[in-house]
């Protein structure tokens, strides 16, 4: 009976092919109909260092990368040392005997596969080591090889028969080695590693969270991007640099993050949907410009691919530490909206909500991704570009008539309206002239410092923000809505929470879960009902302070149970499960 869920990890020295082995395998597997979800743990430096690529593969939907590894391929000694502890009991270790000689262990099965030797000596194709490794893994979990062959033909066919044949030969060598030296061995339990494919369920694509967000930004009609390279956000800029000019847009790599955000504001003032992407350190630099956007009431979208902080922190590690910065960072009293997608697919849709909300409420919207989402690739349903209609800004209408003198009275750019949202003009519109400014201003946009103006316009800007929850995107719900134990979460942690709730149900513990997409302002109408009937409400997030928990506690005036991890890694499902069991026991004792 094949398994529906297998976790494979390829570990080794960065630059050695960990990433390319994983990516080739993932793309082939997705085409073959397997569900895939990956995670990549890059090395800390550009050249060298331990890294791994983890692939969860099978026939069911996955929400996290998997706590432990069923099949570990260790390219070298360091990979064995650092990853073998994550191998599950009864798992399979494949290692290159030229690099490492692991001792036998009762908790695992292990086989040597001389990858370097096969590539170098047998095939005379040292670079083909990765493709040999792909063949090895494919044979172990039972993937039909024609998908990989086709993929190799697509990739190398254009480069001449020699290079293609070399790669096909490498694949064959890997497949053959496993068949001749591992699968046919007595004691090899094939059923532990053979994986089921999912039934045909429509077309799927394999993308990372960053790619999904980039595709979503294009779908939303973004026309201007300015940014600065930073891990793990750079590939959003690079993706859009290649694609935006194809739809008449422009990408500028600016001199720094401060310039980036100010360029975005200029483009937004000029009437275009504009965005930037960065990570925590960049958001810190952009705080001043975000305040300007609040005061001048300019739409803009900022994608923050959060990473472990503070300060330079751990550039390639995971944390959900920027929520307070996103919602509140900045002097004075600013208005902005914070959204957080919960999965790779969700990145595609939430960024479109971000642009819509920015345009409607004329303020900055920050979309919080995180290292896990940015980097993870997943097979997701082919996105639907029609699903989310595009909203437009409330626009000033030019008066009719020709040959009218330029001065027609002063346009009230910041007109006090019931909703707080004023019609905005775009340069080029006759009679719509105004000066956007960060100074406090009256309806005409003229700087004014009197008490009445300050009072009325502070209230105007916050009235806009107060209305935003009515447009909050739908939250994710997990588990049993009627349960007495509840977990609130956000971002990629939602995946691990979802899995923990499923496992708890298997143990007879009923749990309800909710992951809102709008984190600020608090979507009270979505979250308050969740509290009803709950004797225990936990908030799970990867940060030390319980940033969302504290926002909710302040909002509701009641304490919540904080469930935190802050080790630079995503939550392990088993740790969330332990927290659930504790909550369940606490309730039982209380009774």
């Amino acid at each position: 009976m094949p398994k529906n869920d297998l976790v494979i990890r390829v570990a080794g020295e960065a630059g050695e092919g960990v990433l390319s082995t994983g990516q080739l395998l993932v793309q082939g597997a997705a085409r073959a109909g397997y569900r895939v979800l990956t995670d990549f743990s890059p090395p800390a430096e550009i050249k060298g260092g331990y890294s791994f690529f983890q692939i969860r593969i099978g026939s069911r939907l996955f929400y996290s990368r998997g706590d432990s590894v069923d099949l570990l391929l260790a390219f070298n000694r360091e990979a064995y040392d650092l990853s073998s502890g994550d191998l599950t009991e009864g798992g399979l270790l494949i290692y290159d005997p030229a690099e490492v000689s692991p001792p036998a262990s009762p908790t695992r099965t292990q086989y040597p596969v001389p990858l370097s030797e096969i590539a170098r000596t047998q095939l005379k194709f040292e670079l083909g080591k990765n493709v040999v490794a792909v063949g090895v893994l494919a044979a172990l979990f039972g993937m039909p090889e024609e998908y990989l062959r086709k993929l190799l033909e697509q990739r190398f066919g254009g480069r001449g028969p020699d290079i293609l044949n070399k790669n096909l030969g490498a694949l064959e060598a890997g497949l053959r080695y496993v068949r001749e030296h591992i699968i046919n061995q007595p004691g090899f339990r094939r059923e532990l590693f053979e994986v089921e494919r999912s039934p045909a369920d429509g077309r799927r694509i394999v993308v990372s969270g960053n790619q999904a967000a980039s595709l979503g930004a294009l779908t939303a009609g973004v026309q201007f991007f300015a940014g600065y390279p930073i891990t793990p956000a750079s590939d959003i800029m690079e993706f859009l640099a290649a694609e935006l000019p194809k739809v008449g847009g422009a990408v500028i790599q600016a001199e720094d993050e401060i310039a980036s955000m100010n360029m975005v504001l200029g483009a937004s003032f000029a009437g275009k949907r504009a965005m930037t992407s960065t990570s925590g350190p960049g958001v810190s630099l952009m705080v001043e410009a975000l305040g300007l956007a609040s005061m001048a009431e300019l739409p803009c979208v900022l994608v923050d691919c959060q990473r472990a902080g503070p300060s330079t922190g751990m550039p390639t590690r995971h944390e959900q530490g920027d929520l307070w910065l996103a919602a509140f960072g900045g002097h004075g009293e600013i208005q902005r909206i914070v959204l957080a997608p919960t999965s790779v697919e969700d990145c595609y849709y939430q960024i479109q909500h971000a642009f819509n909300l920015a345009d409607k409420y004329q303020l900055p919207v920050i979309l919080l991704l995180d290292t896990v989402l940015s980097v993870r690739t997943e097979s997701i349903p082919r996105p639907d570009p029609q699903r989310i209609p595009r909203w437009s800004r409330l626009l000033y209408q030019e008066p009719n008539g020709q040959g009218v003198p330029p001065h027609e009275g002063i346009f009230l750019r910041y007109q006090l309206t019931d909703s707080g949202i004023s019609p905005m003009s775009i340069p080029g519109q006759r009679g719509g002239q105004y000066v956007a400014t960060g100074l406090e201003h009256n309806e005409e946009g003229r700087p004014r410092y009197d008490a009445e103006t300050k009072t009325r316009f502070t209230e105007k800007r916050f009235k806009k923000l107060a209305a935003a929850p009515q447009d909050a995107p739908e939250p994710d719900f997990y588990g049993d809505a009627s349960a007495e134990i509840g977990i609130i979460t956000w971002g990629s942690t939602a995946g691990a929470v979802r899995e923990a709730i499923e496992r708890a149900a298997e143990e007879g513990i009923r749990v309800a879960g909710i992951a809102p997409k709008m984190l600020w302002p608090v979507p009270d109408a979505q979250l308050r009902p969740f509290l009803e009937g709950k004797r225990e409400v936990m908030v799970a997030e990867v940060n030390y302070n319980g940033q969302f928990a504290r926002i909710l506690e302040a909002h509701w005036g009641r304490p919540l149970r904080h469930v935190n991890a802050y080790a630079g890694e995503p939550f392990k499902v088993r740790d969330l499960l332990a927290a659930i069991r504790t909550a369940a026991r606490a309730g039982a004792v209380a009774r």
Binding site: L218, G266, F269, P383, G403, P427, R430, A436
Partner: protein, 287 residues
């Protein structure tokens, strides 16, 4: 008032209802007038002009003009203007600000603006002090300038804006003086007509706080360019730019070529109408 039949704008058409907040005798009045005249010369429709500024007395200028404007935060006028012009190359964009905005906090952006060569005109109202915050030294203040934050005088060398601009690759470098508004209007016009970033460092004295560099001293120290000066000669321009005395006025250096947003436009291979097809091909690529 404008002649509605042929829509020839007058200077009054560029004046907003906001009265300038500058002190009587401020050099910026001369710059404002020169700007009004330059725009009238080009017969710009005010709706098609965006004036971008930073923070400082001179950065208040956009409020006094009946065009669109963006009074940004300190030092960030060039990045904002870059966003405006790249998003909408059809708009006429001018950048206004002071020597602090351009060379202190904006110093980093100044360098990259010169490299980028966007088709905008940057008029820097250089009074060698910080007016709005009451008289501290700016990056162009002369060495030994005394103010409350340096009671014994500054220790730093002033930056030379013209040399800086040339070193950073600027394609049009000029110096003006608000005490000669007619010439300044011509300079601004030349800057507008230049295809690329036109930097016009403009002496614009602060009578309230800078008692050292005044209209009187500037009048004594400025000089027209030598009659044989060839602004297309980089080495000759460097010599002129390096001269602290006399303070030469005019177009010091110019170089023809395409501007940044022009080059970006040339790289566009489609329009928004191509989006559905592009998305389809991208989804296919990731399948």
């Amino acid at each position: 008032m404008a002649d509605t039949a042929t829509l020839q704008y007058t200077v009054d058409d560029y004046k907003s209802s906001e009265k300038p907040t500058w002190c009587p005798g401020c050099g910026d009045f001369g710059v404002l007038n020169a700007l009004y005249h330059a725009m009238r010369e080009k017969n710009y429709n005010p709706k098609d002009v965006v004036l971008v500024s930073g923070i400082g007395c001179s950065s208040r200028l956009p409020f006094f003009v009946a065009t669109y404007g963006f009074h940004g935060v300190h030092g960030r006028a060039m990045p904002i203007a870059t966003g405006v012009k790249v998003a909408r190359p059809d708009l006429h964009v001018l950048v206004l600000g002071g020597d602090g905005d351009a060379f202190a906090i904006g110093g980093g952006h100044f360098m990259h603006a010169a490299r980028r060569n966007l088709n905008v005109t940057y008029v820097i109202m250089d009074n060698q002090t910080y007016g709005l915050t009451k008289g501290q030294a700016s990056p162009t203040a002369q060495r030994g300038y005394v103010h409350k934050a340096a009671p014994q005088g500054t220790l730093e060398e002033p930056v030379n804006p013209l040399l800086l601009a040339m070193a950073c690759g600027a394609s049009f470098v000029a110096r003006g003086f608000s005490g000669q508004p007619k010439d300044l209007a011509q300079l601004i016009l030349a800057g507008i007509e230049h295809q690329g970033l036109a930097i016009i460092d403009t002496y614009s004295p602060c009578p309230t706080f800078n008692k050292v560099n005044t209209f009187k001293t500037y009048r004594e120290e400025v000089a027209p360019l030598p009659a044989d000066h060839d602004p297309t000669n980089f080495e000759a321009a460097l010599k002129i730019a390096a001269s602290s005395m006399p303070r030469y006025l005019g177009v010091i250096y110019r170089r023809e070529g395409p501007s940044y947003e022009q080059l970006l436009e040339q790289r566009k291979t489609g329009t928004e109408a191509d989006l559905p097809r592009l998305l389809d091909s991208l989804f296919d690529r990731f399948s």
